[in-house]
């Protein structure tokens, strides 16, 4: 449930030049229009105490879910993941959790880079071009929220 859906970005018909600088696989630019379709980010197997934050679900609902896991769920630690735009929200949730626990909970944040794949479908009339793929990187954050050991 990572957040791949940044509003207004998933489809764009534009000349590929706009993306030239961000493309690691050097693609020689041509005037043909491409349709950009984003694939989902790679999904890794998920434990019960993993929370993937997205921008679509209500903030309070996500916060409540984390609280439930920590209090009712009996987990000593949970891991909050956020990708791209949702990083902010992941941080917010973690901080809220900490604040509401009166400082008992501790945080440990890690950042990483996630490789995302986009498909570029050519819209050319003579259909001589192959569809392309390009990869781009996006930042992600993984926050471990945990009760410290008593000793």
């Amino acid at each position: 449930m990572m957040e791949p859906r940044i509003p207004g970005m998933s489809i764009a018909s534009q000349s590929a030049q706009v993306h030239a600088e961000s493309t690691p696989v050097t693609v020689e630019m041509d005037p043909v229009e491409y349709t950009l379709r984003k694939r989902l980010p790679r999904k890794l197997p998920k434990r019960r105490n993993d929370v993937y934050v997205n921008m679509k679900t209500d903030f309070r609902a996500q916060l409540a879910r984390c609280q439930k896991l920590l209090e009712g769920g009996g987990h000593r630690e949970i891991c909050i993941h956020g990708l791209g735009l949702a990083i902010n929200r992941a941080i917010n949730i973690a901080l809220q959790l900490q604040a509401s626990s009166q400082g008992v909970l501790q945080l440990a944040a890690n950042t990483s880079t996630v490789e995302l794949v986009d498909d570029l479908e050519p819209d050319d009339p003579d259909e001589a071009r192959e569809p392309m793929t390009r990869t781009r990187n996006n930042s992600a954050i993984h926050i471990k929220v945990f009760y410290p050991d008593p000793q």
């Binding site: 379709r37 694939r39 999904k43 679509k56 569809p131």
Partner: protein
Amino acid sequence: MSASKVKMRERKLKNQPVSVQYLSSSTQHSGSSGAVGDAGPSDTHTSAEHAKTPQQPGGWVRGHQKDGGGYTREMPSCITAVAFAQARAAEVSAMLKAVTKTTGSCHVFGALPKHMRRRAMSHNTKRLPCRLRDVANRMREKSLQSGSKKKEQAKNKSRKARRRHGNLLLEFNRRQRKNIWLETHIWHAKRFHMVKKWGYCLGDRPTYKCYRPCYRAMSSHCLLQDLSYYCCIELQGEEDKLLLALSQLTSKETGPTFAAISSLSGQRQGSLVVYRAGEYPSQPLGPVTFLWRPRAQGSGHRHLWIWAHPTMKQDLLPELQVVCQCSEAVYPLLLPVGIPAGTTHELQPKPENSSEVEQVTGTKRKRSSEDASVPPAKKILGDGTRSPTTPVTWKSSSTGIVINDLTMEIVRYRLIGPQSHAVLADILEAATECDEKSRAHPSSLWWPEHCRDENKMNLHKQQAEVYQTLKGVSNSGELPPGTVLGLTVDDPRLTLPSKKVKALASVKPAEDVDEEKRRELMLRGVPEHCCQSHLWEKSVRDNVTDHKISEQQLNRMKSEVLVPGSRLTPTPPQGRVPILLVHQPGKQVGREMSSWGAGWDLLLPKGWGMAFWVPLVYRGVRIGGLHMSLKHSQNKGAPHFPHDYPDCPAGVHFQEEQEGEFLDKFKRRPPAKRTNYIKHGCLAPFRCPWQQLAEEWELILGEGEKRRGESQAQNMAPSDTVMEEPMTSQRDVAKPRSRAAVLRNRKSLKLLSGWCRPVTSRGQRACRTAEMPPLDRSGVARFIAAHEMSLVWVRLSLLSKGKPEVHAMVCVPTAEDLQLLGKGPGSSGPQEPPHKDHLRSRTKHKKKAKTSLPSKMDSSEPATSEDLEPSSDSTLGLWPDPLPSVTSHCSRVTLGWVTQGDFSLSAGCGEALGFISVAGLLDTLAKQSMEHRGVVLLRNPASLHYRFAKVNIEV
């Protein structure tokens, strides 16, 4: 008159002579015998019906007729005495006959007056008066005899005998002669509501409640559907000739065609909308998906599979024959060389297919030896409705193209959902090679033969490797859309778990999967040669189908395994199946929920359906029927065939059917409980008059242009003026118009989609809109000139609450409505003032006039009014044809209608899919302010409440 009433009347009059009618013209004949009509009881009724002419109402009719019955009839001016006397004589004799005969039932107590009848008289004759007992006893015996005889005839075999395998099979074969059964039919019939549709028996929805579980399966686990009813048409020929022929059916404006380079190589599945040859943009046939077979080395000969919906096949196949010039039908029986053996063999007894035949007829060996002429029953695989002599192959001498109809030759299963990948990885195992021993001997099976070929084995190893890498991917949405992978797998029944388990992606990533390889696969897709599969070869398909191990044999082999429940080793040589895996990309359009509903299609040779179905079910997938596939495309925002193709012949036919269905349902309600659609201002609650809509919008725009030309200065609020326009005067403009067409030009759709979006302050979007031409009058005019009479597919998401229903109206909001919207999210939409039902008040007046007439039979009043109702050609509460102007009928101008609407579980609000007129949409958009651009109103047919919705056009 209702059907039951007619039936009752018929029964009453069964033994009665026909009502007498004496025509003056028939005086020459010996009148009485002809007119009295001693015809048998079977045709009495019909002749009685005929006799019921307005002048001489015969038969038994209660009450007086609506044309005045016998009261206002003119009396003849003169009477011929002889004829008159003869007529009376005939009447008298008929009457006498009627009196002597008992009515309806032939029971004795029918003759008794009511107060002498007793309960259970027919059962106990002692309750009858003495004088009737003898007769009654005789009658009873007779009826008992006849009853027992009848029963014996119906039940000629015991249940046990009927359920015996061979007899059951015969029965099943008989039953699937009319409608084709899928291979999973029996499985479905036990669990689903079956419907007979398009010449197939298909499961509509499960008998248990599972709407939400099925949705959850689609969005988080896996939903399985049997799509084998889709028809596959195979084209073979030179690549350039095929492309040339097929290019007539498509247009590049609608997106990639058959020639798109990625699908041409065979690496991707393509999909497009097919038109009649050279007719684009009018006369579409419907959507198809297609798959090219990867090129063989150094050969231009290609194979192409076109998958189409069965309702479309009858249109598509002739069209393909025309463009490929394939007029020569290859008759399977007359030309034994070119036999497409697979299509005919199932109907002929086949000697080499020993195992299955023996299984089937094993129990009845003795009987079959008695009458050897009867061929042993055999399970029908494939199309059982087609006669064996029907041609399925057409070839052309000029172009060399061969068309093969592969309907029901290939089983197609669709797995939807992110975990479909894990499910497939669980059931499919790349085929194991055969051991040395079997490799040494030549064999009739295909796999040992293949094992000897070095090249083929190499390919198999590579495919297996790709498949292994694919297992490392945990979500089907991460793959390149439309990927194809050919594979040969072991019989999945060998690894059937003993209990139903839920297949999930393994929590620990498989260590043996090379990360680098996985990345390569994600970016480049499956390499071209790995898309090759032996499923393309007819001989291999038939071989695999014929040599399938039967369930019984397999179970016996399993029971002989030393450790119960362990895998059967070595794999029996028959247990390898060539398959094709085709990736389905899921939701591709729009911004939200991308890749929702992605999954895999599994293509199998025929006969193997159940062998894969049961293992799939044992992996905990949900099974969906037709209803779920509709919901699937609805959530994807994609038009569903044939529901959402109003311009295709199949779509038109579907609409007519749907209208009839809805109308029947409507009429089944008691009249007082029906919705009065006239009062709701709904002109066509059961259908969508697209043609009329498009025509009217053309007129509205034309009028608008004219007025603008006349008085440039005063531009009034146009939506108001539109309504006041006298639409009736425009009806007589009988210009031959083109038919309403659905806009499928991608460029235009993109433009429209950009215009629909509200322009916000966000920088990126502003810069993107700057690229396209602004929405001004000239742009609109140009657009409309290019696409006149067109409709556009839109997705409408409701801004507040409300659940749109099918055939809900999409309307243009007025300026005041938009102010209402601006007030806040809590404000609901405007209301439609209730309309007046003129028809109803008119009929009421009539009724009143009727009752005021002097009539002595008051008791017959209700019957009369009921008789009157169906005779008037309209149903109460529905507008009679022809409809008045559909656009300006309500207080808000109608733009279009919804073809599918429901509460969307994925979006969390009501969502509707439908078509609106392009001209109307552009007109509306041009008048709306920037922040409210693309807001329309939605109103259900049975409601007066308008709801705000947002128009999305997704490309």
